[in-house]
């Protein structure tokens, strides 16, 4: 069996959170899953999280109030030692080349995956990032 990870799912769509959670479970990729409709709640979680676990964040791009890029910018304000425990993948339905380019080049984002979540692709990227 593949290595299992702790996942934080950030998406303003309850439906997509449900789909992504289910997909990770069906493919037995997750040790734990936490879901956040509001990216600011996820930031709050990271701030107060005090275990030494590592997490994979699947982050939606287009969200009201704070979008995915805004989340990453806020995330980078955290202590570097803290940041190390979180690995951010963007997960979006965008086809905008500007967004994709920005996601690929932005520090703090490992890569961008297109919706719907493809578990094989995620596994491949996790291997490439030496996380699995």
């Amino acid at each position: 069996m593949d290595q299992q990870h702790n996942f934080l799912l950030v998406d303003d769509s309850t439906l997509d959170l449900f789909i992504n959670e289910k997909m990770l479970k069906v493919n037995q990729m997750a040790a734990s899953i936490r879901k956040f409709l509001d990216p600011r709640d996820c930031l709050q979680f990271i701030q107060t999280e005090n275990t030494y676990e590592t997490f994979i964040i699947l982050l939606d791009l287009q969200m009201p109030l704070m979008n995915g890029f805004g989340f990453v910018e806020a995330f980078q304000e955290f202590e570097p030692s803290m940041q190390k425990r979180y690995h951010i993948f963007m997960l979006s339905s965008t086809v905008d080349s500007g967004d994709i380019q920005k996601a690929k080049s932005m520090e703090g984002i490992i890569d961008i995956l297109s919706k719907p979540l493809d578990p094989k692709m995620l596994k491949k990227l996790l291997v490439e990032a030496k996380l699995a």
Partner: protein
């Protein structure tokens, strides 16, 4: 030519009697500004909204060509006309090459010729100004379009990708009950996409369609029709609708715009119900009086934070995390209300509810 627009003409000449006779000849046709001083002339161009600048060639401090060259550099849009008493080929060449003058007028001038020059010059000036304005409008429309495509592509694609995600899940699912649940999720996603498509069509009907249709509006009938299209929305059956529609006279208006208003406000009222409340209530109050009408749509839903109230009519603004729509609905509503020369107001308290108050004047 637009006769309402005053034509402001500036004439610079060091010989004052020329200025007097010019003014006497043309003051009935144009707003004439005159001066013997080129420095003052420059100031006038700046402050008097001059469209046509005329200058005599032979002046002591600077020649007419030199003056018009300055005008060309500083105010390229102004129409420049040179007046000269001596046919001087050098000045003519300079006038064209350096001053890029529009006309060359011989002294003593012929009144009809001067009028013709001013009229034609002004026509060019106005056309250029129109073009500049149209260019700006076009630029704005293009920016809006970019913004629109960007947001619309997300709102069109996101529900489709959700559906695809559920289909992928159902491939590895055997439980009938779970599959049924998946179908209902697909249904939700389809409804969301459909409401976005309807919004976009409304937007185009509303903003791009210039034709004005007027029909007699039956509010009771229209409200019932609009609500009938929403019966598949979640929680619809649990909502208590209180309708007070008082219409004893004919109301003439654009049915498409009125429908857009009712459609968006009612679907918002349904969508943003507060799950914490025991009863979901929507009050619909419509009154037609003195040819005009007032429409009040009130709900006891989740409400809107005071800090967000100023943004709700902006295009693509999405209020919150819960059930976020496309961000187009209220934008279209405001646009429709304004096109009907009406007013829209909103009162809202978070967790208590929201009330939209619209008044549309009767048209003659």
């Amino acid at each position: 030519m637009n006769i309402n627009l005053p034509i402001n003409v500036l004439y610079v000449d060091d010989e004052e009697h020329n200025l007097y006779s010019f003014k006497a000849n043309f003051r009935k046709d144009y707003n004439i500004y005159t001066t013997i001083d080129t420095a003052e002339a420059l100031e006038m161009v700046d402050t008097k909204n001059i469209s046509i600048v005329m200058a005599d060639q032979r002046m002591p401090i600077m020649t007419g060509v030199e003056f018009l060259e300055i005008i060309r550099i500083k105010y390229p849009e102004k129409i420049r006309i040179l007046i000269t008493g001596h046919t001087d080929i050098g000045a003519a060449i300079d006038a064209i090459n350096r001053g890029e003058v529009f006309r060359f007028i011989d002294k003593p001038w012929d009144a009809d010729y001067v009028k013709n020059a001013i009229a034609t010059g002004f026509e060019i000036f106005r056309t250029r100004e129109d073009l500049k304005k149209k260019n700006l409008d076009l630029q704005k429309a293009n920016e809006e379009l970019d913004h629109f495509i960007y947001s619309a592509s997300h709102d069109l694609r996101a529900p489709l990708m959700s559906i695809l995600g559920i289909v992928n899940l159902s491939e590895v699912e055997n439980e009938v009950e779970v599959l049924k649940q998946y179908f209902s999720l697909i249904q939700q996603s389809v409804l969301r996409l459909d409401s976005f498509v309807i919004n976009i069509i409304d937007y185009y009907r509303n903003t791009r369609n210039k034709s004005e249709i007027k029909e007699s509006i039956d509010f009771k009938k229209m409200t019932a029709e609009v609500l009938a299209t929403m019966r598949y929305l979640p929680n619809f059956d649990k909502i208590i609708f209180n309708s007070y529609i008082i219409q004893e006279e004919v109301f003439h208006s654009d049915p498409i715009k009125i429908r857009i208003i009712l459609n968006n406000l009612l679907s918002n009222a349904i969508k943003f119900q507060d799950p914490a409340k025991e009863d979901f209530i929507i009050n619909i109050q419509i009154e037609v009086l003195n040819m005009g009408c007032t429409i009040n749509i009130e709900d006891n839903g989740i409400g809107i934070a005071t800090s967000q109230l100023k943004n709700i009519f902006k295009m693509f603004y999405r209020g919150g995390i819960m059930n976020s729509g496309s961000g187009v609905g209220l934008y279209i509503v405001e646009e429709a209300v304004h096109k009907l020369l009406g007013e829209i107001k909103v009162e809202s308290v978070e967790k208590e509810g929201t009330k939209f108050i619209i008044s549309i004047p009767g048209k003659n």
